[in-house]
C-alpha cells in the first residue's frame, strides 16, 4: 500500500520522474554564425533527410531538421542581416509532446525530446503545436535518385510517408558514445559527443554537451551575459541557448 502511495507521489511530480541521465544541450553563438549552411548540409547527410523535389519545396514541404532563418534589420543603407539557425529546441515543457495521441513523441532520460517515427500516425498535431516550426512531415513517399540511396545512414531509420520527423541531436551518435563509454566503464564526457551540425560548423558557432556538467561548453554558454532563448515568453523551456550581443552593446 505504502509502495503505491510512493509511486503515486512520484508520478504526481512534474517533469521526468527521477534523475535525468544526461541533459544534452546546444549553444548557438549568433555572433559567430556566418549563415554558410554547412550545418544544414551535414544534417541532411547524417540523418537521411529526404529530398522532396522542387515542386514540394515551392509548396513549403521541404524537410530540413536544421534551417537558417534570415532576418533583415534596419532600413537601407543601415541594413544588416541576421542569421538564426533554427532546430528542435528539445523543450523541457514541450507543447508537441502532450498532444500526440499515441505518445510517439516524449521526453527521455537524456533530456531529449524524441520522436519514434514508426509509432507516428501522422495527425500532425505536434507540428501545429510547435511554436518553432521545427517538425517536418513526410507529405509523400521519400525517394532517393540512384545512387543517392547508397549514402543512407544505416543507423538512422528511413522514414515513410505520413510520418513526422525532427532534429534528434544526432541521437545515433549519442547512443554510440554511450555504448563505448559503457564498455570502458565510464560516463560520456560533457563535450565528447558532436552532432553532425556541430562537427561541420567552420566558425564553431555551435557547441554541444551535457548541461549537467557545470564546466561543459554549453553550461558556460548558458551562463553568458549574451544568452537568451527564442520565444522565451511561451515558457516552453528550450534547452538551446542562443548567444547574441545585445543591442545596447552595438
Amino acid at each position: 500500500m505504502g509502495d503505491y502511495l510512493d509511486k503515486w507521489k512520484q508520478y504526481r511530480e512534474p517533469g521526468f520522474p527521477g534523475q535525468l541521465d544526461y541533459a544534452w544541450g546546444l549553444a548557438v553563438d549568433l555572433d559567430r554564425c556566418t549563415g554558410c549552411e554547412a550545418c544544414v548540409v551535414a544534417c541532411q547527410a547524417e540523418n537521411n533527410l529526404p529530398i522532396v523535389g522542387e515542386k514540394d519545396v515551392g509548396e513549403g514541404r521541404e524537410i530540413q531538421w536544421l534551417r537558417i532563418e534570415r532576418y533583415w534589420e534596419g532600413e537601407y543603407p543601415d541594413l544588416r542581416l541576421r542569421f538564426l539557425p533554427m532546430l528542435c529546441q528539445h523543450c523541457a515543457s514541450a507543447p508537441c509532446e502532450t498532444v500526440c495521441p499515441v505518445a510517439a513523441t516524449y521526453h527521455n532520460q537524456d533530456g531529449l525530446n524524441v520522436q519514434v517515427y514508426n509509432r507516428c500516425i501522422g495527425t500532425r498535431s505536434c507540428a501545429a503545436y510547435c511554436p518553432y516550426e521545427v517538425r517536418y512531415f513526410n507529405w509523400r513517399t521519400p525517394r532517393w535518385d540512384p545512387p543517392l540511396e547508397q549514402q543512407l545512414n544505416p543507423d538512422v531509420s528511413v522514414r515513410e510517408m505520413g510520418v513526422m520527423e525532427k532534429c534528434t541531436f544526432c541521437i545515433q551518435r549519442i547512443r554510440l558514445a554511450k555504448d563505448q563509454a559503457k564498455d570502458e566503464g565510464r560516463r560520456v564526457g560533457p563535450d565528447e559527443v558532436q552532432p553532425a551540425c556541430v562537427q561541420s560548423c567552420p566558425s564553431q558557432a555551435l557547441r554541444f554537451g551535457d548541461r549537467q556538467a557545470p564546466d561543459s561548453a554549453v553550461s558556460k554558454a548558458s551562463r553568458s551575459a549574451r544568452a537568451y532563448a527564442v520565444l522565451e515568453e511561451l515558457n516552453t523551456r528550450p534547452v538551446i541557448t542562443y548567444l547574441r550581443k545585445g543591442e545596447e552593446h552595438d
Binding site: Y106, Q172, D179
Partner: protein, 193 residues
C-alpha cells in the same frame, strides 16, 4: 371463434413480435457466417502451423544440431562478431570450407556449398531472426550482459532446422528489459532508431 370481435387491425399482417420467431431467414446467413468464420480460423491455424516464417527452407540444409550440438562448436566460432559488434555475423564461406574441404565432401549438401563457392556466389541464406529496419539491436550489449544465446534464439544446438522460438515482438523485448531492470531499458530510443 368465441367472443371475438371483428378483425380491427387496419394494417393486417401476422402477430409475431418476438425476434426469435422471425429468425428463420437469418439462419442461412448465420450459417454462412459460421462457415466463413470456421474457414478463416482453420486457414489461419493451418498457415500458422505449417507455413509460418519461423522455420524457412534454407538453400543448404545446414544442421545446427550436428555442428553446435554433437560437435559442440561454440556459437562464436562461426558467428564471429557477436561479442564485439551489433551484428553476430553469418560465417564467411571460407569458414565453412576450412573444414569441409576435407570433411564430408561427398555429402550432397556440401557439394551444393562447393557449387556456390565455385560460382563465386554467396549462399542465399534466409534470415530467421529478422528485426525490422526501424529497430536498433546490439548483440554486443546482450552478450556482454552475460545472456546466453539460447535465451533469445532457443535451444539451437538441438535444432536440425533452425526455427525462431521467441516471438521477437516489442512486448517480448520489453518484458526481459523490465525483468532484468535494465537501466533506462524501456526508453523507446534504446531500441528504435
Amino acid at each position: 371463434m368465441p367472443g371475438s370481435g371483428e378483425r380491427l387491425s387496419p394494417q393486417g399482417g401476422s402477430l409475431a413480435i418476438s425476434p426469435r420467431t422471425v429468425a428463420g431467414p437469418l439462419r442461412k446467413s448465420a450459417l454462412l457466417l459460421a462457415v466463413g468464420a470456421l474457414g478463416f480460423g482453420g486457414g489461419y491455424g493451418v498457415n500458422a502451423l505449417w507455413f509460418d516464417g519461423a522455420a524457412p527452407v534454407q538453400p543448404i540444409s545446414f544442421s545446427h544440431k550436428l555442428h553446435a550440438g554433437e560437435h559442440k562448436l561454440p556459437c562464436q566460432h562461426c558467428h564471429l562478431y557477436a561479442e564485439r559488434s551489433p551484428v553476430a555475423g553469418v560465417p564467411p564461406m571460407s569458414k565453412c570450407l576450412g573444414c569441409h574441404r576435407q570433411i564430408a565432401t561427398d555429402s550432397p549438401e556440401i557439394q551444393k556449398l562447393m557449387a556456390f563457392w565455385q560460382r563465386g556466389e554467396p549462399v542465399p541464406w534466409l534470415k530467421v531472426h529478422d528485426l525490422p529496419d526501424f529497430t536498433h539491436f546490439s548483440h554486443k550489449r546482450h552478450v556482454r550482459a552475460g545472456l546466453p544465446c539460447q535465451s533469445c534464439h532457443g535451444p539451437v544446438e538441438s535444432m536440425d532446422v533452425l526455427t525462431r522460438v521467441a516471438p521477437m515482438t516489442m512486448g517480448w523485448c520489453l518484458g526481459c528489459h523490465r525483468e532484468r531492470a535494465v537501466r533506462f531499458g524501456t526508453d523507446c530510443w534504446t531500441c528504435h532508431k
